[in-house]
């Protein structure tokens, strides 16, 4: 192709940054900046403002450090979204092929298998073995499982517990089964707008095919994607904590067992900071008989990100001296809790890793809220 005909697909949209006054509130709140000196969102914005071309994204390995937790976005006094700019710069890198090998594997897997984990499509429903789960064709509430809990053996307990609770609560739900594809939340945030678009189309097509009245999701990441990145979707979307809280409030579910541990809730960024779902998970935990609920000092809007978002499940931060999940686990140890409860597959994995790294297995566990519920629901 002659050079003058070549036109870039991604434009950065510098004008979105014009209101920035370089106050530093973005970097000041950035969890990644805590562990990685070279990652400075404020400075990235300034560089983008100082330059002209999209090539400003090149040779910045640290752009892959962002975990898309949204802290900068929620704090900016001028309404600028620094996170979105970082993710846009990633799109430039994806378009220009400047992609770390591990990210490339994820994007390839998405393209071929519609899940980021390189797993065979036909193993997506393995987690249902021995359970009675309807297909959505025969139900009205879609339980959208998400790739990670469907494929990861450790996490499969979560959708299994959700199925049991929904059955007990009389929810007329079903799953898409082998038809389910990735929501694309992480793919979009890795900068691959093209693969994301394909996933969105496929999902919307799936959702149209069945008379779905409501979608309930396992992962806050899917929740966020459906709420914000699917403008055409007009079905109500709920995170499972919202649904379970509703079942408990309506008296359709009741806890009978006891869970006598000291528990703190770790807010997943895509549930809390991005979507202001703070109360439902806490209400559920506080209803569990015997559970001694405490709060992290950094909770709710000030919660510390676990670094599992924005595609960071598949790639380590460049230049980092530590992981924020390790900091979080140390906070839990200082707080004297026995269980960190959370409600996100990625938080569960990163925190569990951090517990192993810190050799705290004897003193501390991380559990999904559903795993606790499973123990007290008989």
């Amino acid at each position: 192709m002659p050079e003058e005909e070549w036109k870039r697909l991604v434009t950065i949209g510098r004008e979105r940054l014009f209101p920035c006054i370089q106050c530093g509130k973005c970097t000041g709140g950035c969890p990644i900046a805590l562990v990685c000196k070279t990652f400075n969102v404020r400075r990235i914005l300034n560089e983008v403002l100082y330059t002209e071309g999209e090539e400003v994204a090149h040779n910045k390995d640290y752009l892959w450090n962002c975990s898309a937790c949204g802290t900068c976005m929620s704090r900016c006094p001028k309404g600028v979204d620094p996170m979105e700019m970082v993710l846009t710069l990633r799109s430039v890198l994806v378009e220009d092929g400047e992609i770390p090998a591990k990210v490339r594997d994820v994007l390839k897997s998405i393209d071929v298998r519609k899940n980021p984990w390189g797993m065979g499509k036909d193993s997506r429903t393995d987690w249902t073995r021995g359970l009675e789960v309807k297909n959505i064709a025969d139900a009205e509430v879609l339980y959208y499982v998400c790739c990670t809990p469907a494929f990861d053996q450790r996490l499969q307990k979560v959708p299994r517990a959700i199925v049991k609770a929904f059955n007990k609560g009389g929810v007329n739900f079903g799953i898409l089964g082998l038809e389910e594809v990735c929501c694309g939340n992480e793919i979009k945030r890795l900068g691959d707008l093209w693969n994301f678009e394909a996933l969105r189309e496929k999902n919307l097509e799936n959702f149209k095919k069945y008379p779905i009245k409501q979608i309930v999701v396992t992962s806050p990441h899917c929740y966020n994607s459906f709420i914000h990145d699917y403008p055409g979707l007009d079905v109500e979307v709920k995170h499972y904590t919202q649904k379970i809280d509703e079942l408990l409030t309506e008296g359709r579910l009741a806890f009978t067992g006891e869970f006598t541990k000291k528990v703190a809730f770790h807010d997943p960024c895509f549930l809390g900071k991005h979507n202001q779902v703070f109360d439902e998970p806490r209400r559920i935990l506080q209803r569990v008989p015997g559970l001694n609920y405490v709060e992290f000092d950094r909770c709710r809007e000030r919660s510390l990100c676990c670094e599992g978002g924005g595609g960071r499940m598949w790639i380590e931060a460049f230049d980092a001296k530590d992981r924020t999940a390790n900091l979080r686990v140390r906070e839990a140890i200082d707080l004297g809790v026995e269980v960190i409860a959370t409600s996100c597959p990625f938080c569960l994995l990163t925190l569990e890793d951090a517990i192993k790294i810190g050799r705290y297995e004897e003193r501390l566990k991380v559990m999904d809220i559903m795993e606790i519920i499973d123990l007290v629901l008989n």
Binding site: P19, I21, Q22, C23, G24, K25, C26, T27, G28, G29, C30, A33, L34, K37, N40, R42, R43, T71, R75, C76, P77, K78, G79, D297, R298, R300, E301, R302
Partner: protein, 656 residues
């Protein structure tokens, strides 16, 4: 009918984009035009002389000026007409600047549009009728709403001129926020020391009638003749008898948070807000008093009976009507609610406080008698965070609060003075030290070893028993975690929460920042858009004390103009009713925002009908009535249907 047309170049403002020579030639051939001229600045003295001379020499009876917006110079040209013996309402202005030369780039098209605008104005001018302006008497008294420093100053200035002032304050004492402050920047005067003499003057002034613990609930009328209803809340204490001996409070057993000290300490249920309160009279808190709630305690009553016997539980809410000629609004500000910024943990940590709380903490009459003590300890590390709730789009406050940079500098100085060993860090975005003596004061504070770090902190959290302020030091480009045992949030200021209520009561406008809107941002900064109502202090926008005082004196001077001339001219552009066409449907009565229209019974033959009737003194000439009238019976003078339709017709023509 003889018309004169006057086309202004406005220097190059109009001439650069409109062919003025062509426009003048065009005007000459319009119907009834006797003379058409163009001139460099029509508003100048020689420009006006041109018009006056032509009126006299050619016997013109209607004048069209093609120039800037009528908002700018309509009054100028009306005066010129009057001085030449012509009725000032025989003037029509074609706006060929704001609505033409300034907004179009193509000179030819702009000239064509100017021709249309001019032709429309000429056709309307021929239909204009001379109008008479009316004069009404002015009630020689003023109302001042709000008893903070701005209201106090305005009230004193008006009263000192010899006019009666009604000063209404919603709290039990005047003093506003200024009486809560410790020292004032940059001079470090004691705030109460400089304010209390003025408060006492208000209390003693023969011309000031103070309504404390009261609110304005209704305002009727217009400039010169406002009728105001004031609601006096019951104090349950007779102001004329109470000598503020304080015996009652000693016997009262109910303790409640002291709002004067921002709930940092307790007060009794029967209380005086602070020792220098004006009026020096106790008040009973009706939400907590056991007698008022359950009638099971009469401790205060019994002790007061042995003294002045001032307590009176039979007091009821009272409505008082007063008549005034002018009104000064000085309703002040509220502090930004810092809990809407959860990242700073104000709602969680006792040692995160607001700027105003610091003032009470530092004040000798405050909860700690002026010692900086928090949680029983003197802090070693103090961090100030600026711009909390200011310059912040996400909470709807895009503006700078204008006082926080300097009050923070002052508070940093006070910490240095009281805790010489403490480390003091101020996190700022930009230091705005713009006033007289401000930059010098900022220098002095830095000289005293206060660390200024550029960066807007992102969060505050706990580590052990201390707080951590996390920020990027943007000059160093590095993330910092500064430990502190006292964090002061420089909370910005927002309009008093009753501003919207006051605005709707007095039909005032609010600017997008929710403060009250002045009539002109440059040239009428203390006038509201409503005649006879003036703005003083922070109700109009954030201000420090000297600016509030200056604006209050300005508002007082402005409000004295009608009072001292004794007369106001009621504008002639009112609506009027063609009774024979009126169906008495009352749509206009409902639509009128000024309650200027009512239905009146008239006899028509043997029948009695209702027709609309306009009170010309109340009518502001907004034209809403004419737009809702189905039969065209109600019309606005100089904007009647036939006048406007003739303009529309002229605009529709094509001109060479």
């Amino acid at each position: 009918m003889k018309l004169g047309v006057y086309i202004c170049h406005c220097g190059v403002n109009i001439k650069a984009n409109v062919n003025v020579a062509k426009l003048t030639k065009f005007a000459e051939q319009l119907p009834r035009v006797r003379v058409a001229r163009d001139y460099l600045y029509m508003c100048s003295e020689p420009g006006q002389q041109l018009i006056k001379k032509d009126i006299e020499e050619h016997g013109l009876d209607r004048v069209v000026v093609a120039a800037c917006s009528p908002r700018m110079h309509e009054i100028t040209f009306r005066k010129a007409l009057r001085s030449a013996g012509l009725n000032p309402h025989c003037l029509e202005i074609a706006n060929i600047r704001e609505q033409c030369s300034w907004v179009h780039e193509d000179r030819m098209k702009a000239t064509q549009k100017a021709q249309k605008l001019l032709a429309a104005a000429v056709s309307k001018a021929a239909l204009l009728e001379p109008l008479e302006e009316k004069e009404v008497e002015v009630t020689p008294a003023a109302l001042v709403v709000g008893g903070g420093i701005a209201g106090i100053q305005a009230a004193l200035d008006i009263a000192d001129t010899g006019y009666k002032v009604y000063l209404v304050e919603k709290e039990p004492s005047i003093g506003g926020h200024m009486i809560q402050l410790d020292k004032t920047f940059p001079t470090l005067d004691c705030s109460a020391c400089i304010l209390t003499p003025k408060m006492a003057d208000v209390g003693n002034h023969p011309n000031i009638e103070l309504f404390s613990y009261s609110e304005v609930v209704a305002v009727k009328g217009f400039v010169g003749n406002f009728e105001v209803t004031i609601k006096k809340k019951p104090r349950y204490i007779d102001e004329t008898k109470c000598n503020a001996c304080g015996q009652c409070a000693q016997y009262c057993s109910i303790e409640v948070p002291d709002s004067f000290n921002l709930n940092l300490s307790k007060r009794k249920c029967i209380y005086i807000p602070f020792p220098q309160s004006v009026p020096a009279c106790y008040v009973i808190d009706p939400d907590h008093c056991r007698y008022l709630l359950t009638r099971d305690c009469t401790q205060c009553l019994e002790v007061c009976k042995q003294g002045t016997n001032a307590i009176d539980f039979t007091q009821k809410e009272e409505l008082v009507e007063v008549k005034v000629g002018t009104i000064v609004i000085a309703t002040g500000y509220d502090l930004f609610d810092v809990t809407t910024k959860p990242e700073y943990g104000y709602h969680l940590y006792d040692n995160v406080i607001t700027g105003l709380e610091f003032e009470r903490l530092s004040n000798a009459s405050g909860p700690t008698t002026g010692e900086i003590i928090i949680n029983g300890k003197k802090p070693k590390d103090v961090v100030f965070i600026q711009c909390v709730g200011s310059r912040d789009k996400t909470v709807g406050n895009e503006y700078c609060s204008r006082v926080c940079c300097m009050y923070t500098a002052k508070q940093a100085h006070l910490v240095r003075e009281k805790l010489p060993q403490a480390t003091i860090t101020v996190f700022y975005m930009d230091v705005r030290a713009f006033g007289k003596g401000f930059e010098e004061f900022y220098d002095r504070v830095k000289q005293e070893g206060v660390k200024y770090r550029r960066g807007n902190p992102s969060e505050v959290y706990r580590r052990g028993d201390r707080l951590v302020v996390k920020a990027e030091d943007t000059l160093q480009g590095e993330l910092v975690e500064v430990e502190a045992d006292l964090v002061v949030l420089a909370s910005g200021i927002i309009p008093n929460k009753q501003t919207a209520q006051i605005a709707s009561l007095l039909k005032l406008s609010q600017s997008p920042d929710r403060f009250l809107l002045e009539a002109h941002p440059k040239l009428r900064p203390v006038d509201s858009a409503s005649d006879g109502i003036f703005l003083a202090g922070c109700c109009q926008g954030p201000k420090d004390i000297p600016d509030s005082v200056a604006q209050a004196s300005a508002a007082a001077a402005k409000s004295l103009i009608p009072l001292s001339t004794g007369k106001v001219i009621i504008q002639a552009l009112t609506s009027f009713v063609q009774e024979s066409d009126c169906r008495g449907c009352g749509f206009c009565v409902e639509a009128c925002p000024f309650d200027a229209i009512e239905l009146r019974e008239v006899k028509r033959g043997r029948r009695v009908l209702e027709v609309a009737s306009v009170n010309e003194v109340l009518c502001k000439g907004c034209g809403v009535c004419a737009s809702v009238c189905l039969s065209g019976a109600i019309q606005q003078k100089s904007f009647a249907d036939r006048q406007i339709l003739s303009m529309v017709a002229a605009l529709g023509e094509e001109y060479a």
